[in-house]
């Protein structure tokens, strides 16, 4: 296999509309995604940035595909760790699918190279962020471990 790929599925008791907002709006992401927020016009071809506290750019790329409440595809390059930055662009896909009273969220983060350090690193981060997102939408509280940007990073 020549690709590096992270795949994750979670069922969240919410609506596609709320989940969509939670994935892109700063007032949500700050709470479950370590105080980070995203800046974009959210249309195909627009630039996209993940901002980290202090105003640094964490990751950046472009909106490749966008279908509100259903599908979002971003190109994604790390901007604050040189060894990850030099790997270039990865691709992140969110798919939302209503299933009864819940929404099935599929997250695919992949890169066309084997043994990508970026994919290895995000594979450790996504499960915690997504568990926290689920908790926030279902209970109103995100997970403690994801509420602050880690010191010294």
């Amino acid at each position: 296999m020549t690709n590096s790929r992270f795949v994750y599925v979670t069922l969240i008791r919410t609506t596609p509309e709320k989940l969509w907002r939670a994935l892109i709006e700063p007032e949500f992401t700050r709470r479950y995604w370590a105080e980070t927020w995203q800046e974009s016009e959210w249309k195909a071809g627009a630039s996209w940035r993940l901002m980290i506290p202090g105003g640094r750019v964490g990751d950046s790329g472009e909106v490749l595909e966008i279908e509100p409440e259903r599908r979002l595809v971003l190109s994604w390059r790390n901007d604050f760790k040189p060894e990850l930055h030099e790997e270039g662009y990865s691709r992140l896909t969110y798919e939302l699918e209503k299933q009864g009273e819940a929404v099935k969220l599929t997250v695919i983060h992949e890169m066309e190279r084997s043994g990508s350090k970026l994919i290895e690193e995000v594979s450790g981060g996504w499960p915690l962020i997504l568990a926290s997102l689920k908790s926030l939408l279902e209970t109103g509280e995100s997970l403690e471990a994801t509420r602050r940007w880690p010191e010294g990073v």
Binding site: R5, V7, Y8, V9, T10, L11, R13, T106, I108, A131
Partner: protein
């Protein structure tokens, strides 16, 4: 979500399905054809098992080109662990599991 937990336990209750999860754990992102290799199960049986595993979200599938790839999704098992195994017990259980492995000369992977 009681119904979902039922699905997970039901899916895990079959040795054939657990074997498929083990195969994905060893090598994630396989096609149906790859999963059927070296297995003592018909293609139809594997397909049926995978469907149940997918409904329980223990397996996630994605299409890449003309290939449907199967991935182990650890979320449901993680949630079960979180529910019954407190954060303080986890460390102790890991130590005991290590001890058991060493005493039994573990070769299981």
């Amino acid at each position: 979500m009681a119904a979902d937990v039922d699905k997970v336990f039901k899916a895990l209750a079959d040795p054939g399905r657990r074997l498929l999860l083990d195969r994905l754990h060893a090598d994630n992102g396989q096609t149906l054809g790859q999963l059927c290799e070296h297995l003592d199960m018909s293609r139809q049986a594997v397909t049926k098992h995978l469907k149940l595993l997918e409904e329980a979200t223990l397996v996630a599938t994605i299409w890449r080109g003309r290939e449907k790839l199967h991935y182990l999704n650890p979320m449901p098992i993680h949630e079960i662990a979180e529910r019954w195994i407190g954060k303080y017990e986890r460390g102790r259980l890991r130590v005991l599991a290590e001890l058991k492995k060493q005493l039994e000369g573990e070769t299981n992977d």
